[in-house]
Symmetry: C2
Subunit: 316 residues, 2 copies
């Protein structure tokens, strides 16, 4: 499948793998890029030198383009911003903050910058800064979420900007991908489904819980802290929500309870203290698969639907 | 456009108008049905006899099929359940409760029952009860909402049931409609956009506020009461949310503040005390139009996208 974004980035399929903190490493990113999508290494991977090692490892695993997702709110964001230049990274996606301080440097280095945005206002700001494209992320997605959901958000951002718009949040298989393409998306970003990739290092308990999740298996916590996050419903998220609702518990206590919880999910599969970030489409999760199988299923599913779409008009 | 649902109901276009309380009257429903969609009269319209009058008035305004949406949690639901049989209504949609007590009677009267559902479990229950179809309503929609959003909810419900599934929540124009059809929906239900119909009686301030709304212009309140509702952000919703968050304010006081608020929005355009129910797609609202223009725009937009969808594969 060819779109504006495959042309600009020189990739085969318009499928990005979400740059998930502590999860998106060289193995996963390289496997997705090898499958023809765009793999992304997260900047939250144990510090600047660890990210450098992941970048170099990914280069050994694939000749194809991959990128780095930079969490701009992180304390080492400025160092990571330099690292991607030093390491000759060609594609950067950004989240949780503004890339403004780094845009000039990155553009001088030829880096294509594709911010994740959750609102029209932010998409416009990113276009003005010179972003190559934006990823409109609906609040169905796992992890940090905004207020508006993909089906309503995507067309509003497409109407507002001139640069290509990718869609994220709720995209699990070829059906949602076809839906996004027919609405005008230049690509899709997929997070939750890649948690199930064989090349994804999350603890087996994480994968099991995703496969068992129902359509109402996730919840958003942290709104009272100004830091809304979607994760699987677990003893941890339920306790977190109860603490948030309890006027006797301070915001600092709630924050302290959450600190390190993602790592406890990813590495230990700890249901009592771990935050198993996941999107609403986790209910569609069925099995572990290779990254190649996931990319193929999404793209071949979407293409089959797009090909036969005209038949729907006089369908039955 | 022909789908399973147009065939079953004998309607021209697979577009339902949401049966919005205090809003969906004979004028609106008849105008939507005349335009080839399915108009629906709300059972919350001022009592059983008022609903009877609306039904009879709609019959004078159109020969085409229309239906009644029954809010099952309402105190007069049992009387409305009899009314639709007495008045020879052919199509009933239901919300906010289980239609189980009435299914036998309705089926004996030849009524096709299409419940609005917000989860897979509820969709399965409705199929078991003999529903003709279900409307999978994502929490992007205005009014009472569940937890899961359309892009993630629709495929999970389609995978779970054998009856036709319509999609609601976030469907404003032909883009979202095409997206829902390509994902397998047999139809779409549209609420917010029909608030802008010339035939819709909501106060001019309601329509103005919809047209001014941005992509982040709605919010959900009432979660703490077990009664989550999406509406435009106004002085009323902000105060409601603040009362909910305040441990010094009892749930009863919050509920009392909300009582009658929808009518104050619909009839008085009262921003301080009115609840302007609206979905996330309100940000796409641009102008008042006739119901005919709205239905035509949604369907012609969707058909044009479905027709050219194969070109997307080798698009750029």
């Amino acid at each position: 499948m060819r779109t504006k974004i495959t042309q600009i980035l020189g990739i085969q399929h318009p499928v990005f793998q979400g740059g998930m903190a502590w999860i998106a490493d060289a193995n996963l990113a390289a496997a997705v890029s090898e499958a023809g999508g765009l793999g992304l290494i997260s900047s939250i991977n144990g510090g600047v030198e660890a990210v450098r090692r992941e970048i170099r490892k990914a280069r050994e695993l694939t000749q194809k383009p991959f990128g780095v997702n930079i969490m701009l709110a992180a304390p080492d964001a400025a160092e990571i911003a330099d690292l991607v230049v030093e390491e000759g990274i060609g594609i950067v996606t950004t989240g949780a903050g503004s890339p403004a301080p780094y845009m000039e440097k990155w553009k001088a280095a030829g880096i294509k910058v594709i911010p994740v945005v959750a609102s029209v206002a932010y998409a416009l700001k990113m276009q003005e800064l010179g972003a190559t494209a934006v990823i409109a992320e609906g609040a169905e997605s796992g992890g940090h979420v905004g207020d508006t959901h993909t089906l309503a958000l995507l067309p509003q951002i497409i109407d507002a900007v001139q640069i290509p718009v990718l869609a994220a949040g709720g995209v699990f298989d070829g059906r949602a991908a076809a839906a996004m393409f027919i609405m005008g998306a230049a690509g899709v970003q997929v997070g939750t489904r890649f948690l199930l990739a064989r090349e994804c290092r999350v603890h087996p308990v994480y994968k099991e819980r995703l496969i068992k999740a129902s359509d109402i298996g996730t919840m958003v916590t942290g709104k009272s802290l100004g830091d809304a996050v979607r994760a699987l419903k677990t003893p941890f998220t339920k306790k977190f929500a109860a603490m948030e609702a309890d006027p006797a518990v301070s915001a600092d206590e709630v924050r302290a309870f959450g600190t390190g919880s993602l790592r406890k999910a990813v590495f230990d599969g700890n249901l009592a203290e771990g935050s198993f970030l996941a999107g609403e489409a986790a209910g569609l999760a069925k099995r572990e698969e290779s990254a190649q199988e996931i990319v193929n299923d999404i793209i071949s599913g979407a293409e089959a639907l797009l090909k036969t779409a005209p038949d729907l008009i006089y369908g039955e």
